[in-house]
């Protein structure tokens, strides 16, 4: 054999040893077990690691979303604080028509039963805040 063939031989041997081509999942497992590997133990470690890492990612998302919701809520409180009664009543009326989504609509309809005109300004503002918070982009979609 030529020196060149011998030099490349080791690379081919490595690929040969690394290959699991054509083996089913079960056959791969049996290959490892035949080699004395505790496959159950190995996979238990892998699954545990994957679960922990993915849970950490979802927790990061939940924390971020909570933070964004809190910031949005603060912003809405500021917006609602400067509305006069007429503006608040208009907002509630729009919500009844569905402008702020189904949740906002339900909130507004519940108010009608109480008769909004008799509500205190603070309560009207609280209702307006809840309607706006529940809308979550619905108004933007409709536009």
């Amino acid at each position: 054999m030529s020196k060149n063939e011998q030099v490349k031989f080791w690379g081919h041997l490595t690929e040969f040893f690394c290959s699991n081509e054509g083996l089913s999942k079960n056959e791969v497992r049996k290959e490892l077990e035949a080699d004395g590997i505790d496959v159950d133990d190995y996979l238990a470690n892998v699954h545990s690691m994957v679960r922990r890492s993915l849970q950490a990612e979802w927790r990061k998302r939940a924390t971020l979303e909570r933070s964004l919701r809190e910031k949005k809520s603060d912003r809405l409180l500021e917006d609602v604080a400067v509305m006069n009664t007429e503006q608040l009543m208009l907002l509630i009326s729009d919500a009844r028509d569905g402008k702020y989504g189904p949740t906002g609509q339900e909130l507004a309809i519940a108010c009608r039963n109480e008769s909004c005109e008799q509500m205190q300004p603070e309560d009207l503002k609280a209702l307006a805040h809840d309607i706006l918070q529940s809308s979550d982009g619905v108004e933007e979609e409709q536009e």
Binding site: H12, S19, N20, V28, V50
Partner: protein, 206 residues
């Protein structure tokens, strides 16, 4: 933070399948060097798990658009880890066969590296001696020499069943281990001979 689509993909992966195939890959790399553990004591299982962790924690980002097959990407990460642990081309941990990201550039000795090339020749020769007398192993050896490396291709070339080829692969592993050991012993004897000759020259030998 990982993007949503990647996170959902990672959740949908059959880790039982991917992790075992990755382990076969890492073990194969080590077996081709006659090793069951790395010089630092890490096993193939350790390396495979570290590779998976690297992808999960983002240290080796997985881009599903660029590399849709996560197993291929994991194998690349594992190879990079092995190279960082000194398991490079052939017995030459001082040679950098990696790029800036630690990716192994080649499993082959570099053309301008005479020491690695000589080792490759010694290895092929030693292994040939160790498989002689076993006709099936000789056939597999020849197929590898001709450039066939996938078990199915080796099976096609030799006429053996692929299940038999996988069995012979296990037999070949023990021969490889012995080939590596025999080269190592020869090198040590060569070093001892050199030291003795040096001692004679300096007048320090007994």
């Amino acid at each position: 933070m990982m993007d949503d689509s990647t996170l959902k993909l990672l959740q949908s992966i059959d880790w039982g399948d991917v992790a075992t195939r990755l382990l076969v890959h890492v073990r194969g790399k080590m077996k081709a060097r006659g090793l069951v553990a790395l010089p630092g004591g890490e096993t193939a299982e350790d390396i495979a798990q570290i590779a998976i962790q690297r992808i999960l924690d983002g240290r080796r980002k997985w881009n599903p658009d660029k590399h849709p097959n996560i197993l291929n990407h994991l194998e690349w990460v594992a190879d990079s880890l092995l190279s960082s642990k000194g398991l490079l081309g052939l017995k030459r941990p001082d040679i950098e066969f990696t790029d800036d990201e630690g990716q192994v550039l080649s499993d082959y000795p570099q053309p301008d590296d005479p020491a690695a090339n000589n080792y490759a020749v010694d290895f092929a020769t030693a292994l040939k001696e160790l498989v002689s007398g076993d006709s099936e192993l000789e056939e597999v050896y020849t197929a590898l020499l001709l450039g066939f490396s996938k078990p199915q291709k080796v099976a096609d070339e030799t006429g053996l069943k692929v299940t038999r080829v996988y069995e012979l692969r296990r037999k070949m592993e023990s021969r490889v281990k012995r080939a590596v050991e025999s080269i190592s012993e020869k090198e040590q004897r060569g070093t001892t001979d050199e030291q003795e000759r040096a001692g004679e020259v300096l007048g320090t030998s007994d």
